[in-house]
């Protein structure tokens, strides 16, 4: 079930009604309802994979308890290792097996040995990367004695499979989400309205910006030979907005939906395209994943406390692993590698924590220096996204070759120039709204605080009508494939 589907528009009010009207007296019943509805939500894709979800949940739940009860350190280590190996084993099988098999065949073919890789006809279970990482963080935290294991299986299962975050995050931490599940929740009018507002903004980002940008980006990326340099630039910029609005739109809907049920999820995006350097971009992009890698990979590897060489090595490892997390394709690895290269100067010159605040805080406009930094960072991210979007590495280089040609300065030779120009205009307005809302949790949060109700409602109606007009057949969210 997609957030931008009629099914979800029916599902959500039903669960909301049952949650606040039928099961309101006991939070344990509410948790049971959340669990059943989450499994139903997941089963709408493919009910067979709910068994995998149940297994993964049960594995981490029992591993956690067994680790806490283990009488010796070696036994604790055993349960920990078993949980990690099985979790990663599932991920490797479903997500990476074919990639490794094909890459091995390609590699040995360079030495004249031709093998037909034995690949599996397997479907990638939606959200596997997300719920596996949920479970991993829980198990690692228990192993490191940071948290106590959860004894209530329903509560733990809700933590793993709460439907707003189940398929594409945010990747929650037990320390943040479990306490909210374990206590009573009361209905809060302001919070519920705020949740609806964030859902509306997320839908706008997904349906109006991401899906429309996808149309042009797909056309240009898939038919590269037909377009000139400036069209290639436009295609890359459209994809840059597509991926941001697709994923952050999803996160907004997830956070807004959770808020309707009285639960706060971790913030996943903080206006990353207004970053002044790549380090800042990575503090603002897919925050729950970046912090996950920081806490469970970067710091255990020595983090930034070791020497410069170790820091450089760790940075490359974390970016390449992050790229690989996105999918079994060399393009993602390359994307991670390029980002590691981009961040390297700030690591070497120790300027990576220079921009910790929000750009032009308390002001309407940035300084010229800030504006140039933002544009340069944006340009670098556009460049890196080309590798992320390309079908393969040679396609990416071919795309870049066509982009950096003489025709970069010609008029883009795309069909539907009026639609493209309209979309560019809508994107500009969107960027403007994001700019003025950049100090909030999401761009239009301030509407609920400062703007008169009549104007506020008119704005909501405009957003709804735009969503209504632009919505086509429901489009899958990009991050579902990861």
């Amino acid at each position: 079930m997609l957030f931008n589907s009629i099914g979800f528009a029916i599902f959500l009010p039903i669960i909301f009604f049952l949650y606040w009207f039928v099961f309101t007296k006991n939070y344990k019943y509410q948790n049971a309802l959340l669990l059943i509805s989450s499994y139903f939500f997941y089963a709408c894709w493919d009910w067979r994979f709910t068994f995998l979800l149940v297994f993964s949940t049960a594995l981490d739940y029992y591993s956690g308890i067994k680790m806490a009860e283990a009488k010796s350190k070696s036994l604790k280590k055993f349960y920990f290792a078993a949980s990690i190996i099985i979790n990663l084993g599932f991920l490797a099988t479903f997500k990476y097996y074919n990639f490794f098999a094909n890459s091995f065949a390609d590699a040995v073919s360079h030495f004249g040995v031709h093998v037909s890789p034995w690949t599996l006809m397997i479907i990638l279970p939606v959200g596997i990367s997300f719920y596996t990482f949920h479970g991993l963080s829980y198990v690692i935290d228990i192993y490191n004695d940071k948290i106590k294991p959860e004894r209530n299986f329903i509560d733990y299962s809700v933590f793993v499979s709460f439907f707003p975050l189940l398929v594409a995050g945010p990747i929650e931490r037990a320390t943040h989400l479990l306490p909210q599940i374990q206590r009573e929740r009361t209905f809060d009018y302001t919070r519920a309205v705020d949740g609806l507002r964030q859902i509306l903004w997320g839908l706008f980002k997904k349906v109006v910006i991401a899906d429309q940008s996808a149309g042009f980006a797909n056309l240009i990326f898939n038919n590269s030979a037909n377009y000139n340099g400036s069209a290639h630039l436009l295609g890359a910029v459209f994809f840059t907005f597509q991926i941001y609005c697709d994923f952050s739109g999803y996160s907004d809907i997830a956070l807004g939906t959770a808020r309707l049920f009285g639960i706060e999820l971790l913030k996943n995006f903080a206006f990353p395209y207004f970053s002044r350097d790549i380090a800042e971009f990575w503090r603002r992009w897919h925050i729950s994943l970046s912090t996950w890698f920081r806490d469970y990979l970067y710091i255990p590897l020595g983090g930034s406390k070791a020497g410069t060489l170790t820091k450089v090595r760790n940075t490359f490892i974390i970016f390449i692993v992050s790229g690989f997390w996105h999918g079994a394709n060399w393009t993602f690895i390359m994307w991670g590698f390029i980002n590691a290269l981009f961040i390297m100067p700030s690591i070497l010159f120790k300027t990576n924590r220079k921009n910790l605040d929000t750009v032009a805080e308390g002001k309407n406009l940035p300084t010229l220096r800030e504006l140039l930094s933002i544009l340069m960072t944006f340009g670098l991210t556009v460049f890196a996204w080309i590798f992320f979007r390309a079908e393969n590495i040679s396609h990416a280089f071919d795309y870049l070759r066509r982009l950096f040609s003489k025709s970069l300065f010609a008029v883009p030779n795309i069909l539907g120039k009026t639609s493209a120009a309209t979309l560019v205009l809508v994107i500009c307005l969107f960027v403007l709204i994001e700019w003025f809302g950049r100090e909030k949790r999401y761009a239009i949060e301030y509407l609920g605080q400062k703007v008169r109700p009549s104007i506020r409602w008119a704005f909501y109606y405009i957003l709804i009508l735009m969503i209504f007009f632009y919505t086509g057949e429901k489009q899958q969210f990009i991050y579902f494939q990861f």
């Binding site: 009629i6 009018y189 409602w457 429901k474």
Partner: protein, 333 residues
Amino acid sequence: MKRFLARIVKFSAILTIPLLIIACVYMYYDPFRIVKQYNDYSYSPFTLNRDFVSTEMFRKNNQKYQYNSFLFGSSRTIAYHLSSWQKYLPAGSKPYSFDASGETFWGINKKLKYLNNSGAKLDNVLIILCHDVSFSSMDNSKGHLLIKSPVTSGESALTYHLTFFKAFLSPLFLKNFIVYKFTGKYDPSMEGYVEHRKILYDTITNQAKILSQDAELAANPDAFYNKRRKLFYARKGEHTDSVGMIKKDHIILLREVAEILKKHHTKYKVVISPLYDQIKFNPTDIKILKETFGNNLYNFSGSNSFTDSYRNFYENSHYRPMIGDSILKIIYK
């Protein structure tokens, strides 16, 4: 909670009441001919969804005519007259044009599955592919002119009808609809919204014919092409797409189609269209198609005697029936 629900109701009412009034107008006039039942879709004043027409005509007429030969493809199938095709088919064949605007292989796959599931005979099949549309998407097409009928796609009928209603609500369509309804006259500014061409859909074979275009061309070919000179842009010569269009999921669709054709012992041909842009079908894609369809595949893409002269085309997209006739002659040699 009461305050919250009251607000939701009030907010929704302001939006839905005007929409309901417009919906009534839409259903009454039914500009896209998808709400009411029709026996003949010809000469519609508004552009119709060709896929819907093809699907509905089949559903209405199959029992009576017992079709057993099917032509699949985009609007470029207009070059393949069923009367020409029938010459190469066994006696008693009943051809039907199951084409759709901007037809994708996804659409062809769904149509063949639908025919297979509904027990239709698939004795002869002619599939027309094009490098620019056939493998351009892996799911249902977007927009009211291209979206596939829920009968074949299996997708939500509600979403389908909403797509048309949204197209009706588009300010530009609504403006042109109102002006046309009041004046009854076509104005060039209405192009794309009001259909000024006289399009005939054969009520038996579903073959589409743009009568006004054919008449204009027959009356004075020079004048026809002079008027459209700007459409025939300068070409780059033969070249190939850098990236193959056939993705992993397309291969599954191809295999499914091949399975259905094999199951029915269908005599089939798959033609890759000769197009004005002279883009050669991607070699990797050709290899995949060859693996699926073997010697039943015929590739006319790129630079060749069919694509060299602009006079073989109506405009820069659709080739003429004389080319279709020549192709039929070659593939049924």
